[in-house]
Symmetry: C2
Subunit: 491 residues, 2 copies
C-alpha cells in the first residue's frame, strides 16, 4: 500500500464515478419510474427463488465486474422487483409513486447523513421539527408536544409502550422491571402484530397483552375494555387503540376509550399508522374523533399519504421531555455539552437508535409541493374510489363484501361459478378458502395485478383491496374485478 | 370528488412527474455528487438554527409551491447539508462517497418495497441471503448461520441481547421477565452506548449492565471479566465484546473472552459495527481473532466499507431458527402459509420491524462491482493513512497522540503555543479542554473540514480523526494538521 499513490479520489476516478451514476440515473428513470408506473406494463415479473437465482449472478467474488455488467445488475434488480408504483399494485398498505417523495429520498441518499445532531443534519433537523408540529396541529394538540421519525410503525408503537412504562415508573430505566408488579398492555383483537412484538421485546411477555374483543365491524368494544382495566394481580398501564386496522380498516372509538383511560390513568396510544391519513380530510377526520385527548400517536406517512418508505412519525403530547429522559444515554462523543450552538437542536438522544435517517424530508417536500388541500383531495378521492369498488362488488355476481368499508380497505370474496349454488356450509367455506391463493398465484405469474388476501378470525381467505394512489382510476378497479373473474372462473 | 375525473395518473401528469424527477436528478448529480465531493468546495455551509430557519421557507401551507420553487428547496437542502462525501469530512465513523452504493440506494428508493416477503422483494431477499452468507465466511462460520439487516448497529446489538435472553429462557417471550432472577449483561467501559439503551428498553435496566474495566489501550481486561461472571443474586447471560470502540478504535480480545464465555455458557456477542471492516483484510483481520467462536456479530457496512446509510448486518451462528422463533408473530395477512411458493423465503418474521428496507443491496452492488480484493485494498489503505497521520502528529510540535492507533481512529490533542510551556497540571488540562470546541467551531464556520472531538474518561477534549474513504489523500491529512494549527494557534 502506498498512500501517496493516486487514489480513487483522483480526478479521473471521480469522472468515472459521475458517469456511472448518470447512466444509472437514466436506467432508474426509464425502468423504475416510466415503465414501472405504466399501466400497460406488468406489475411484477414473477420468478421462483430457484429461477431467479439462476437468472441473477449473485455470487460475490475476489474481483469486480465491468461497468456494463453492473449496469445490467441494476436493470435486472429493477426488472424482477415488484412495481409498487404501478396503478394495479394493491398488495400492501402502501402504493403509488409520489415524485416529490422519490426525489427527497434520492437527496437523502446522496447527502448520506445521520440525524442525531444539528451539526450533522441542520436542514433535516429543522424540517423534522416543522413537520411534526404541523402533524400535531392536525391531531389537535394545540399546545404542541414532542416526537421523532422512526424506521417503521412497529418501532413507533414500541416507543409508545416504552414511554408509558417510563411514565408509570421512571426507575425501571435503571433497575429494570424485575421488582415490578406484572404490567399489562390492553389492545383489541384487530390490532397490528407489532403490539405483541413490543411486549415480547420489552420484557412484558406476549401473555401480558390482554386482548379486548372487537365488534363485527372490527372496532374495539369499550365496555369490554372496562372489564379489563381492573385486574387482580396485574397492573394495566397502556392501552392501544387502532385507527385503521390492517385487514378491515376499522377505527376504534377513541373518545370512548379515552374516557376510560382518563378515569384509570392509563396511557392511551393510537396506532394511526394506516388511518392517520384521514386527519387531512375534513370529510373523514371524524373517524379519529377524540385523538387530541390521547398520549401518543404513531402515523406512517408512507401509507395513505404515499411518502417513500419509511416515513413513520411517533408523536407524544407530553411536553416535559419524556422522550428524551426515557431514552437518553448522553454519549459524550456525540452529544457534547460544550458545543458552540444550542444543543437542544441535537435530537438524537430521544431515539433508541444511534444513526437515524432523516425520513421527515420525504414528506415535507411532498407537502410543500402540493399543499394540504391536495393531500385532502387525494385522501377523499381514494376513499371515494374505495366506495365505488364496494358498490361494484355488491352489483356483481360472484363477488361478496366481507364488511361495508369505512376507510380504504375493501374486503371481499370471489365465488367462482362452481361454488355459487352451494348452500352456506362449512364445506363451502373450506372450498372458498382455497380460491384466493390460486387467483393470487395466477395474477402474479401473469403479472397483471397484485392484491393481498388472508384468512381472518373464522373467515376463510378473502381479498383485501386498498385504494391509495391518485394514479388509480375507476377503470383500474373495474379491471381488478374482471381479472379476478377471468383468473378464477374455472375454480 | 369525481373519481371519473382525470387523476394525476393521467398521461400528462406522469410526464410532468418524470420531467420533475429528471431535473432533480441533474441537481443531485451537480450539487450533491460533483460539488459535494470536490476538495475545493466547502465541507459544510454553517448556519445557526435561527439563520437557517430564515433562509429556508419551512412552513407547510394549504396550497403547494411551483416546480421551480420546489427545485430550489432541493438545492437549498443540499447546500446547507453537511457534505459527508467530501475528502475533508472526518466527523463520524462513516465518510466518503461510494458511487455503487449510492446508485443501489437510488434503486431501492425508486422501487419502494419492503423486505418482509419474497413476493414483495424477490431480488432483495436473495441478495440479503448471499451477502449474509459471504460475510459469515469472512467471520469464519464454516457451517453458516442466520441473520438480517437492521436500521443501524444499535438495533443489531439489541437483537443480540434479545436472542441471548430467548436462549436463556424461551418462556420469557410469553410470560415476560417478572419471575426471572435478575439478569445481567457484561460489557466494557469503552463499549457503545447502545448496549445501555438495549438494557433499558428490554426491561433489564441500565444498572444491570456491569461494566468491565478496560486497559490503557481501551481493551476489555479478561481477568476483570472473570470476576464478574460469578455473581451473587444475579445471573449473567450476555457478554458484549467490542471490535473497534467508538472513540479509541480498540479491539477487545475476543479469543480470551470466548474462553470465559464458553466455560460459563454465556452468549458472546461482538459489536463489530466499526471494526468489522478489518475482516476483509488479510493484514488486519487478526484484530478480531477468535470471532468465529462467538454467538453473534453486529457489523455495519456503512462505516469502514462505505455503504450508504444504513447497512447494518446482524449475524447469528445459530442454525436452529432462533432468530425466527424469538421474534415471530405469524401475522396471517402477511405470512400466509398457503402461498404458492416456498415460504421459508419470507424472512420478515425474523425482525421486530414490519416494514423493513432492503439495505443489503446497498453493499451487494459495491462488492459485485469492486470485488473482495479492492475492499481489502481500501481498508489497508485507510489504515496505512491513519498510521501516516499518527506519525505526522508525533513529528509536529503542538500535537500529541492520546494513544497509538490500532485501527483507523487517530486521537490527539492540539496544544496551542500559549500552552506549550506550561507544566502538566490540572490547570493545563482544564485549559486544553477548551481548545478543541473552539477549533471545531472555527472549522465549521469556515467550512474547511469537519472532525469530531470529545472528552473521554478523565482525559480533556481531544480530536478523533478517522480515515475511511479512498478519496482521502496524504495531502488532505497534512491539510488537517496545518488547518488545526491555523485555526487554534491564537488560543
Amino acid at each position: 500500500i502506498n498512500p501517496e499513490k493516486g487514489s480513487p479520489g483522483a480526478a479521473e476516478d471521480m469522472e468515472a464515478a459521475e458517469s456511472f451514476i448518470q447512466q444509472a440515473m437514466e436506467i432508474i428513470l426509464q425502468e423504475a419510474v416510466k415503465k414501472a408506473t405504466n399501466v400497460k406494463e406488468k406489475v411484477c415479473e414473477w420468478r421462483s427463488p430457484e429461477q431467479l437465482k439462476e437468472l441473477l449472478d449473485l455470487e460475490l467474488k475476489d474481483t469486480g465486474e465491468s461497468e456494463s455488467k453492473i449496469l445490467q445488475c441494476c436493470r435486472d434488480a429493477i426488472r424482477y422487483s415488484v412495481k409498487t408504483g404501478h396503478p394495479r399494485f394493491f398488495n400492501q398498505l402502501f402504493a403509488g409513486m409520489e415524485p416529490h417523495s422519490m426525489v427527497a429520498s434520492f437527496i437523502i441518499e446522496a447527502i448520506k447523513t445521520s440525524q442525531y445532531t444539528y451539526e450533522m443534519a441542520p436542514v433535516f433537523t429543522l424540517i423534522e421539527d416543522v413537520l411534526l408540529k404541523t402533524m400535531m396541529k392536525l391531531i389537535g394538540w394545540e399546545e404542541g408536544g414532542d416526537g421523532l421519525f422512526n424506521p417503521g410503525g412497529s418501532m413507533s408503537n414500541m416507543y409508545a409502550v416504552n414511554l408509558a412504562r417510563y411514565r408509570y415508573c421512571p426507575d425501571f430505566k435503571e433497575i429494570g422491571i424485575y421488582a415490578s408488579p406484572r404490567l399489562v398492555m390492553l389492545t383489541s383483537q384487530e390490532c397490528h402484530y407489532s403490539i405483541a412484538k413490543a411486549a415480547a421485546l420489552l420484557g412484558f411477555g406476549t401473555k401480558n397483552v390482554y386482548v379486548v374483543p372487537s365488534d363485527n365491524r372490527g372496532k374495539m368494544i369499550p365496555s369490554a375494555l372496562c372489564t379489563h382495566v381492573s385486574l387482580q394481580g396485574a397492573v394495566p398501564f397502556f392501552v392501544n387503540a387502532t385507527a385503521g386496522t390492517t385487514v378491515l380498516g376499522a377505527f376504534d372509538p377513541i373518545d370512548e376509550i379515552a374516557n376510560i383511560c382518563e378515569k384509570h390513568n392509563l396511557w392511551l396510544h393510537v396506532d394511526a399508522c394506516w388511518g392517520g391519513g384521514a386527519l387531512v380530510s375534513k370529510k373523514h377526520k371524524h373517524l379519529l374523533k377524540g385523538i387530541q385527548r390521547v398520549n401518543s400517536v404513531a402515523w406512517n406517512l408512507h401509507k395513505m399519504l404515499m411518502a417513500t418508505l419509511q416515513c413513520s412519525a411517533f408523536l407524544v403530547r407530553d411536553k416535559s421531555c419524556l422522550l428524551q429522559r426515557c431514552h437518553c444515554a448522553g454519549a459524550s462523543y456525540l452529544f457534547q455539552q460544550d458545543k458552540f450552538y444550542d444543543v437542544s437542536y441535537d435530537t438524537g438522544d430521544k431515539s433508541v437508535q444511534c444513526s437515524r435517517k432523516p425520513d421527515a424530508f420525504k414528506f415535507w417536500l411532498v407537502w410543500k409541493a402540493v399543499g394540504t388541500r391536495e393531500l385532502e383531495y387525494r385522501v377523499d378521492r381514494a376513499l371515494a374510489l374505495a366506495r365505488y369498488l364496494a358498490q361494484e362488488i355488491k352489483k356483481r355476481e360472484g363477488f361478496r363484501l366481507v364488511i361495508e368499508p369505512e376507510f380504504a380497505n375493501v374486503c371481499f370474496w370471489y365465488i367462482p361459478p362452481s361454488l355459487r349454488n352451494l348452500p352456506e356450509s362449512p364445506e363451502l367455506w373450506k372450498k372458498l378458502h382455497t380460491v384466493a391463493p390460486v387467483v393470487k398465484e395466477r395474477m402474479m405469474k401473469k403479472g397483471s395485478m397484485m392484491i393481498g388476501y388472508q384468512k381472518h378470525g373464522d373467515k376463510p381467505n378473502f381479498f383485501r383491496m386498498v385504494v391509495i394512489s391518485p394514479q388509480v382510476s375507476k377503470q383500474d378497479l373495474d379491471f381488478v374485478l374482471d381479472e379476478i373473474h377471468r383468473l378464477g372462473k374455472d375454480l
